[in-house]
Symmetry: C2
Subunit: 264 residues, 2 copies
DNA sequence: CGGGCAATTGAAATACATCAAGGCGTGTGG
DNA sequence: CCACACGCCTTGATGTATTTCAATTGCCCG
């Protein structure tokens, strides 16, 4: 129960091997130091607070584990959410809702610093699934401890509220896009919003960014069919707006592209 | 700065008369006693906590005002949000996003107990507008004080988190509806979800409920045109699923209607 | 080399939008 | 009290964005 040094992390037994998940228990401080989302994420705020405040929560040390899953693997199933708060460290994932007949809507793309569930600290998100697009590594906190930190550190709560506000704004825009924008607008806006988020994480070079999405991901995110996504993307390419090759996307004519996206 | 009895409320100067808003400063305890959303709302949780905890916040009494606006009036404009946390006491309102060319998406219908903005306690919601459908009365809290209560009373924070989870769930479903469901499904689901929410507030009688929405409201909520909404509703009527007259809606064949809505 | 997933393309179908006109109810002003 | 306007609902005809279906290609990986 005594106070211990920070880089100490309680190791946690975890994995069923068939899950293909690697677990390591890295130090919060060192592992996260290189995180591209350091200033954006609730993750960083938590580690800062833990660094200066009391370090035990409900009698235990702050337990975190780091997991790595391969591309295309489903991390959380609709009915099977853990009691943890999970935050992406690296890679791309999607959070989606699926109907019994297979229709699927992607609710958000998860990048470094994003929580699996927008309500993570307070509840799991049954109904949603989370799936890795690229290889993904994420960190998993015990929810009870996470919540305790929240209440002990108002500044962490403030950070969390900023994250919520941002997520909520994106959810609102998603509804506006799906309900009221054309296919061209939706797709252009999806690309631009990803670019913006990558930019904040220093993951772009000029107009070029990593782009691991398959066309069916774009389709499921924009409420369209893969076939139609293909046609729109081909048009964009033919008009010299963008270029995609090798899982890399370049915006060739930003101004015009923003116009197409209806961002004036 | 002393402790005062609860029903005391600091009166607040407020209204420009052209705003058509009536202001009264009713007691939290008495006015809210009859609120149909008593158990659902953050509002009730706040008043319970205030009743037993310290009653001053930042040196002032908890200031709340009650406002009434007539049907069709816009209460909050996209660029003009106050520093208050507003909660509907009575009536129907909508919260929406509008594009410069007039396309509009309704994000939610606000009923008794609902906050104008889902992030109310932490920030305003620039970009959104709130508009009364029926006559609406709402209560307005000072945000700073509201937040203070939140931090002083973990149980209020818990209630708030439940509200958030619920709102978030509805936002997710909205995206799924708009992106992946047919017109019939969207409209049927809108009606059913309103019924469910009214039921929780004891505002339904059997299969009959107040239904003040115009067809253009349904259109803006489901991402359709008013003309198409009309056709779908006519079909529903012709098939004996529902009946609408006099701002009142009755579900005639609940089982089949739920099937149409894709709720199996 | 084969098998499977992803991208591409064209043709046909359809769900929904747009356009246009008429009717009905309600409030308002002469 | 009538006339009129205005908002809302309704209906039919026509247009179009997007889907569905189907077939082909390329590509990665075992």
């Amino acid at each position: 129960m005594g106070i211990t040094l920070l880089p100490q992390v309680a190791p946690v037994d975890y994995e069923a091997p068939e899950n293909q998940t690697c677990v390591s228990s890295g130090s919060l401080a060192t592992t996260c130091a290189t995180c591209p989302a350091n200033e954006l994420s609730i993750c960083a705020a938590v580690s800062r607070s833990v660094a200066k405040g009391p370090r035990n929560f409900g009698g235990a040390l702050l337990a975190t584990t780091v997991h790595t899953v391969p591309a295309r693997k489903t991390i959380c199933f609709p009915s099977d959410w853990s009691d943890n708060v999970q935050i992406v460290c690296q890679g791309w994932a999607i959070s989606s809702l699926t109907l019994s007949d297979g229709r699927r809507q992607i609710l958000s793309f998860l990048l470094a610093g994003d929580m699996f569930s927008p309500v993570g600290p307070f509840a799991s998100a049954p109904g949603r699934s989370v799936e890795a697009i690229t290889d993904v590594t994420y960190r998993s906190f015990n929810r009870t401890q996470f919540k305790a930190i929240l209440f002990q550190h108002p500044e962490v709560m403030e950070t969390l509220s900023k994250v919520w506000i941002d997520e909520r704004w994106r959810a609102d825009q998603l509804a506006l896009d799906l309900g009221r924008r054309t296919a061209d607008e939706r797709i252009a806006r999806l690309i631009l919003s990803l670019r913006e988020r990558l930019e904040k994480r220093n993951l772009t070079q000029n107009q070029t960014m990593e782009f691991p999405l398959r066309q069916h991901h774009i389709a499921d995110a924009t409420g369209l069919t893969p076939v139609h996504v293909n046609k729109v993307l081909s048009d964009f390419r033919r008009s010299g707006l963008i270029e995609i090759s090798n899982r890399t996307l370049t915006i060739l004519d930003l101004e015009e592209f923003r116009r197409v996206a209806g961002m004036r």
